[in-house]
């Protein structure tokens, strides 16, 4: 505001004033951004499993009530090299379909969370398809979207919340152990943390995609665990 007022005073009426006009390359104001490094645990880990490292891409998966959703993926630059840095810029709030209400909670407790993953993009379209394999994910960091801020994210009765406070909007949440504990705290916005939000392809997806219903599979996963539903850690 102050900048363009100065311009107006300096150049008016000979020059224009106001906001710079934008073109179709304008996506809106950037709401949040995360970036990090996507790599494999060993140099030939993917090749040994028969994957082509050149086809490894990153995307963001939103959790939905009935499991991981392939909808509303974040389309990234598909030319990103692997191993290499990735960057995800957010211009929209979390998609409506991604908002979750914890058991026993209300709409005021709604939240959305997502996880950056690496996958084998066989069709090279930059989006994860059902027949494409997830290869890895961020180890201990998730993306949390809160419409109204932490105070409205009251844990359901009998459930566990998060110990720290969170701003409304996007937050990167880092856990000391695993998603289903209460150690989650806000991650300083990148690039404050030089390490970024790294994606590691290790094959141990259960360490990051927590099966919260204690049954086989990874269809249900959550940051906020209901102790009644998930009374103890199941490996």
């Amino acid at each position: 505001m102050q900048q363009w007022i100065c311009r107006c005073l300096l150049f008016s009426p000979l020059l224009a004033c106001g906001n710079d006009l934008v073109g179709a390359d304008y996506f809106g104001e950037q709401l949040y951004s995360i970036s990090g490094y996507s790599n494999q645990v060993e140099p030939n880990y993917l090749a040994d499993l028969g994957y082509d490292p050149l086809q490894v891409k990153t995307t963001l998966l939103w959790a939905q009530q009935d499991g991981i959703s392939l909808d509303n993926q974040l389309l990234l630059d598909t030319t990103t090299a692997f191993p290499g840095f990735y960057r995800m810029d957010f211009y929209h709030p979390a998609p409506d379909e991604a908002f979750l209400i914890p058991p026993g909670g209300t709409a005021e407790n709604a939240f959305a969370y997502a996880i950056p993953i690496a996958y084998h993009d066989e069709d090279d379209d930059g989006l994860l398809a059902e027949d494409e394999d997830i290869l890895g994910a961020t180890v201990d960091t998730y993306l949390l979207y809160l419409p109204e801020g932490y105070e409205t994210l009251a844990p359901p009765e009998g459930g566990k919340g998060l110990d720290d406070s969170f701003e409304a909007g996007y937050n990167a949440v880092i856990f000391d152990d695993r998603p289903c504990d209460d150690s989650g705290r806000p991650l300083p916005p990148f690039p404050t943390d030089p390490a970024g939000v790294n994606i590691v392809i290790s094959g141990d997806l259960t360490s990051v995609l927590k099966d919260v219903d204690c049954r086989d599979g990874l269809d249900e996963w959550s940051l906020i665990c209901n102790e009644n539903e998930c009374p103890e850690t199941t490996e």
């Binding site: 363009w4 311009r7 107006c8 009426p13 000979l14 020059l15 224009a16 004033c17 106001g18 906001n19 710079d20 006009l21 934008v22 073109g23 179709a24 390359d25 304008y26 996506f27 809106g28 104001e29 709401l31 389309l75 211009y91 929209h92 709030p93």
Partner: protein, 513 residues
């Protein structure tokens, strides 16, 4: 007595053929080496010959036309003609000698292709001549205030003293195109000397104030003088023609006879107004007159454009004047010129401006990459005058753009002011000018994210090329285009404040008056 005799000779074709008229007509575009060449002196001389031969009873055999002669050629010509006049006089015949000169001069001499002919020598030669009546007409120009200098050197202007105290010898009349100290002028519009143009127009009938179909010396001079003063009154220096004579019978000496002239016809007008007659081929102004004189009694055969002006309107007709026939200009023949053209053509008696309401559609190129062209409409007022056409418009345009994240609608509210010059060609007109303006541009976004509205105050300027056609006298349809340079706020993404985009518009102008 002499005038009476000459009048008798002129007015009675069947009279004694021994009464003769001679003409020495000199046109010299080239004066001294230091003087800028004139454009129309020789053309003036040729036109004078045409009128003298067709209307003034001077036969081709008795006419000597000299284009760009030197002083010796003029001396020899005068001497040769004087010998012939002397021979006529020896046989008792009456004679009249016209000497006309158009070219450079100063206070002492005529400038003739690098040579000088002293005025005193010329005057003496004429005064001592054998002709019973001798008429010396000098349209000698040192400078032309309407168009350009006709003589570049800062010399004393051409001057023959025709003050009240001055005298001329018996039987002699001298007419000068300008008073002492004044500069006679050429006109681009008339394609000739101002005084000569009006003198010839008068001799062709416009000066026939008495309506007797004979233009006398007085009538011709008064007509030419009045119109020369009127026309040059718009120039920095007013030109006052002078006239002095000592001829028996005074200024009644008949110069041209309008009835039965060879190779001429009448151009008669029946509607009030101010008339200008152009040669249709060369577009040279042939005559200017008011309706009170009824028309031109003896116009050379040919095709003409007749333009009639009233205070509010201008009409035109193209006619052909046939030998010995009267061509009458009436309302059915005249076509009204569209209001805008009327004002653009100017004229003392015409309405100076024409006001129109204008509206149309306009479009500009995309101001930012990925945006659509801006399309919209405008409305405004337009003013046409002889000097310029100007308009002021209020314009609205809109553009849009979209990507995977949002869609944007861009709207602009602008005020444009344009000044341009139009040249008319029949119903069509074309021209160019400059448009400047300012506008408020807003961008509103449709996005689930955060994309606040943006607004900009921008200036723009554009060279404009315009063409239009008059659909009716009140309505014209125009199209224009240009390249608009916008001054916009800049940023890291758009580091230059200047953006150039094409501009185009179509419009309809309805003239209120």
């Amino acid at each position: 007595m002499i005038a009476a005799l000459l009048a008798s000779a002129l007015l009675s074709p069947e009279a004694d053929a021994a009464e003769r008229r001679y003409a020495i007509v000199v046109g010299n575009n080239r004066g001294d080496a230091s003087e800028q060449a004139l454009q129309y002196a020789t053309a003036d001389a040729s036109r004078v010959v045409g009128v003298l031969q067709s209307l003034a009873g001077v036969s081709p055999a008795d006419t000597t036309l000299l284009h760009n002669p030197d002083a010796d050629q003029v001396r020899e010509t005068i001497a040769r003609i004087e010998r012939r006049i002397g021979a006529d006089a020896a046989e008792g015949d009456q004679s009249l000698l016209f000497i006309y000169y158009s070219g450079h001069a100063d206070a002492d001499s005529l400038h003739l292709s690098g040579t000088r002919l002293p005025l005193s020598e010329l005057k003496d030669a004429v005064e001592d001549g054998a002709a019973d009546a001798r008429l010396l007409i000098i349209d000698a120009c040192r400078a032309g205030a309407i168009t350009r200098l006709k003589g570049a050197s800062p010399v004393a202007p051409f001057e023959i003293n025709l003050s009240d105290e001055a005298t001329v010898s018996e039987g002699m009349a001298i007419i000068t195109a300008a008073a002492p100290g004044e500069d006679a002028q050429e006109s681009e519009k008339l394609q000739g000397g101002v005084f000569t143009h009006h003198l010839l127009t008068g001799l062709q009938g416009a000066a026939d104030a008495s309506g007797d179909h004979v233009v006398s010396l007085d009538e011709a001079f008064e007509y030419a003088r009045d119109r020369t003063i009127l026309m040059t009154s718009q120039a920095p220096v007013v030109q006052h023609p002078k006239y002095k004579y000592d001829i028996n019978g005074g200024g009644d000496l008949p110069l041209t006879r309008l009835d039965g002239a060879r190779r001429t016809g009448q151009l008669l007008i029946g509607l009030e107004g101010e008339y200008i007659v152009f040669d249709a081929k060369s577009t040279r102004v042939v005559a200017e007159f008011e309706s009170s004189i009824g028309g031109i009694q003896a116009l050379p055969v040919g095709r003409y454009v007749v333009r009639r002006r009233t205070p509010a309107r201008v009409y035109e007709a193209e006619v052909r004047v046939e030998e010995g026939q009267a061509t009458r200009i009436d309302g059915g023949l005249l076509t009204q010129i569209p209001y805008g053209q009327t004002a653009r053509r100017g004229g003392a008696s015409a309405r100076r401006v024409a006001l129109a309401v204008t509206a149309g559609a306009a479009g500009t190129g995309a101001l930012r990459e990925g945006m659509s062209d801006s399309l919209g409409g405008f409305a405004g007022l337009r003013l046409d005058s002889a000097a310029l056409t100007a308009d002021i418009r209020v314009r609205y345009t809109a553009a849009s753009g979209e990507n995977d994240y949002l869609s944007v609608r861009q709207e602009a509210y602008a005020i444009d002011a344009t000044a341009y010059r139009l040249w008319d060609a029949g119903r069509f007109a074309g021209g160019a000018g400059l448009r400047v303006g300012g506008e408020r541009i807003t961008q509103a976004f449709d996005s689930p994210g955060l994309a606040p509205d943006r607004y900009t105050y921008a200036l723009h300027a554009s060279p404009v090329v315009r063409g239009e056609v008059s659909v009716t006298t009140r309505v014209s349809l125009g199209v224009e285009g240009g390249l608009s340079a916008y001054v916009l706020p800049y940023s890291d993404d758009n580091p230059s404040p200047l953006t150039a985009v094409p501009y185009a518009a179509v419009d309809l102008s309805v003239f209120a008056f």
